[in-house]
């Protein structure tokens, strides 16, 4: 995934689309610390009042390419790096110890503190391709993995290989400025890592996240 911060307006459409796509519950407004949002806008403030500037960056799970810390510590294989390089989360395998998120330097996983509730009419908008999680398990962005499965199934039925750009995430589709681009870093996004504006979060930890940011252009 590539996020062009020069195009991003921090409108939050990706957050909403992600929650809608992945059956993320609204949450309890009294406990903002227990809220679940797989895709978030991280505010990084710079300077002190009155010379304040804020940089905002959409941030999903970073999908570390090299030894994801969450997968290293998971006691039951509920999270791991799969052959495609994605880091899935198996809700029915998770025991809810929360070690993964404490090991994650990005703290980009979420815990179901209580049973998710979908008051009317939200229950009618549930995505049938995505399970509703139980209370007590971890969850996180999985790059809309269910969509990859749909793309594969469709391609198999039509007797062809999946096409480039066919697998799209909800945040990518909802982004009005096309700041979020998604695809194989060796396919659709080839060369994005070599872009002069490219950087990743906490690069010095050497985890090689697969979310590549492109910083703002300076005029």
């Amino acid at each position: 995934m590539a996020v062009d911060l020069d195009r991003c307006t921090a409108c939050g459409a990706c957050t909403v689309a992600c929650a809608q796509e992945n059956n993320v519950a609204l949450g309890n407004p009294d406990r903002p610390d227990q809220l679940i949002r797989w895709m978030e806008i991280l505010p990084a403030e710079r300077g002190k009042y009155p010379e304040v500037s804020a940089r905002l960056a959409p941030s999903p799970c970073q999908h570390c390419d090299r030894e994801p810390p969450c997968a290293r510590v998971c006691p039951v294989y509920a999270t791991y790096r799969n052959v495609e390089g994605l880091i899935p989360q198996i809700y029915e395998q998770c025991i809810g110890c929360r070690y993964c998120v404490n090991a994650c330097p990005y703290t980009c996983k979420h815990f179901n503190w209580s049973r998710p509730e979908f008051p009317a009419p939200f229950e009618r908008g549930l995505n049938p391709d995505v399970s509703v999680r139980n209370a007590g398990v971890m969850e996180k962005c999985n790059f809309c993995y269910h969509r990859l499965q749909v793309v594969r199934d469709t391609a198999a039925q039509e007797g062809r290989e999946p096409k480039l750009g066919e697998y799209r995430t909800a945040c990518q589709e909802s982004c009005p400025t096309k700041a979020i681009r998604f695809g194989d870093l060796d396919g659709e996004l080839e060369g994005v890592r070599e872009n002069e504006r490219a950087f990743t979060l906490l690069e010095d930890l050497g985890l090689m996240p697969k979310v590549i940011y492109l910083k703002e252009k300076t005029s």
């Binding site: 978030e40 809810g96 503190w113 007590g136 398990v137």
Partner: protein, 525 residues
């Protein structure tokens, strides 16, 4: 009649089959895990390494027990163990032989009420989820994990301290040996309950065994808790055998057959005494290794992550020292409580508090050194992520707890107990209370501030404050610890009668022997 034969004998055989069976099941579990890990292409060597470590520990224990009990069973030719009750025995057995007073019942009921309250809170949490706790993002671990570390520190420390004292041949250890083992077993029962409280899906706990990932420090923890609980039970049980033999002769009614079964045919013959001594000595060596490793495993859960301040090699040694420190305080408190409750001032002497006070001062000094090492290393390096956390400890949100830890773990023991004449029972108890509170505060300030400072600027993240549920369950755990101790002290003497009596006989001879050895060195250059 040969004691311990008949129905009890069959139960004992069943017990042996169980412990050997348990050993083989454990070995089989690790082998099976290694096999499927290998088949699915994940790292299988950790399973083999852990399997060898845990299984050899169990096999040693099972072998030790078998060997000891076979030796005890052969002791029938010795004289019947029925000496005339001496004053020490009368004093020590009084709580076991007497009934429960109204005051004891009242205390027990109060403790049961606290436990029931905690149980109700657990029910609320099971019903509404962990949302009822103060936990949230980014503080995903809170008081439950602190309490778990705390109780396990008590268990590991008590066993480590008493085994080291035994190996060092400290005469004064005898009064505390039984209490240390008792406290360790109960802390070992109460501590892991906090993990059950903390888990989001308690009903998925079996997955740890069914599909455990051996590279995860949590699996190391599961294996080490399992190992240590069994080790600790044996560590409590073996020295109890002579006292069970004594109680078998002293009590009547429904308790007599129970004591007869538990005494495993103890008659007090020289061969039996020698066998039991050998077993106790070997066990003391084993538990020192096990306790140090398992305490470090608890520390490694946090220190093996990449988080600032957690990711420190000092955490392991700090936890091991902290466990000894905390357990010395708990042992002093237990000794003082037993002395007061059962009027044992003839057995629990000023020397015990003097020596435990010395242990506390020594631990305080080493703790201070480790703490300064940590603070200096971090603050000289001046890394922003780490400095932000250190700042909240020194003067920010966590300063009260941090300075409570410093006060309790360094200032109080040093100020109260440095001189020999200061180390009276009252001062040692006061310092122990400070260490008790300080240890908890230290574990809290090692865990929570790090989590409150995630590297990324997370929106909507709050501060952690323990909720009523977490405080209630901690109170329940403490109450359960006290209640279990109270109950067991009514069934076994709090100080080992056999060892205390023998120690008194041997002490003078051993002292003479030691002094003769020193002099021999001087006179023969």
């Amino acid at each position: 009649m040969r004691p311990g034969r008949g129905g009890a004998f069959r139960v004992q055989i069943a017990f042996f089959l169980f412990i050997w069976g348990f050993t083989f099941v454990t070995a089989g579990w690790f082998a099976w895990s290694a096999r499927w890990l290998h088949r699915y292409g994940d790292a299988w060597k950790p399973a083999v390494v852990m399997g060898i470590a845990v299984t050899s520990c169990f096999a040693l224990l099972a072998g030790l027990l078998t060997w000891t009990f076979v030796a005890l069973g052969r002791g029938e030719n010795g004289e019947r163990f029925d000496p005339v009750p001496d004053p020490i025995e009368r004093r020590l057995l009084a709580p076991v032989l007497a009934g429960w007073s109204a005051r004891t019942w009242a205390t027990a009921l109060a403790l049961v009420a606290v436990i029931a309250w905690a149980g109700y809170c657990w029910y609320l949490q099971l019903r509404y989820g962990l949302a009822v706790t103060g936990l949230g993002r980014p503080v995903f671990w809170g008081m439950y994990i602190v309490d778990f570390d705390f109780f396990l520190g008590i268990a590991y420390g008590l066993v480590l301290l008493s085994a080291v004292l035994r190996l060092a041949g400290a005469d004064w250890r005898r009064a505390g040996q039984r209490l240390a083992a008792m406290g360790a077993v109960f802390a070992m029962i109460v501590g892991p309950v906090n993990i059950l409280l903390d888990l989001g899906r308690l009903d998925h706990l079996h997955k740890v065994y069914a599909s455990g990932r051996m590279q995860s420090p949590l699996l190391w923890d599961v294996a080490s808790i399992m190992t240590f609980l069994i080790t600790c039970l044996v560590y409590l049980f073996l020295p109890l055998i002579p006292d069970f033999g004594l109680l078998r002769e002293r009590v009547g009614g429904f308790r007599k057959p129970i004591y007869r079964f538990l005494s495993f045919g103890w008659t007090g013959s020289a061969a039996q005494v020698a066998a039991l001594d050998r077993a106790n000595r070997l066990l003391a060596i084993l538990v020192v290794f096990v306790a140090v490793i398992v305490r470090s495993v608890v520390a490694w859960i946090t220190s093996l992550t990449l988080q600032p301040l957690w990711h420190s090699a000092l955490t392991g040694p700090m936890y091991v020292l902290g466990a000894i420190f905390l357990s010395a305080a708990v042992l002093a408190l237990l000794l003082a409580a037993m002395r007061r409750a059962f009027g044992l001032s003839a057995v629990i002497r000023p020397v015990h508090f003097d020596k435990l006070g010395l242990v506390l001062v020594l631990c305080a000094v080493v703790w201070g050194y480790l703490m300064v090492s940590e603070l200096l290393t971090v603050s000289y390096g001046n890394e922003p992520d780490e400095m932000a956390i250190i700042a909240t400890k020194l003067s920010g949100r966590f300063s009260l707890l941090f300075w409570m830890a410093v006060g309790g773990l360094f200032a109080a023991p040093v100020a109260l107990l440095t001189r020999k004449s200061w180390r009276t029972a009252g001062r040692v108890v006061a310092a122990s209370l400070a260490v008790f509170v300080g240890s908890w505060a230290q574990l809290y300030t090692e865990l929570v501030p790090v989590l409150e400072h995630p590297r990324m600027p997370l929106p909507g993240s709050g501060h952690y404050r323990p909720a009523a549920v977490e405080i209630a369950t901690f109170a329940g755990c403490l109450a359960a610890f006290v209640l279990l101790t109270m109950i067991l002290t009514r069934f076994v003497p709090v100080v080992a009668v056999f060892y205390e009596r023998r120690g008194r006989g041997d002490a003078a001879a051993q002292a003479t022997e030691r002094s003769r050895e020193y002099q021999a060195e001087v006179t023969h250059p």
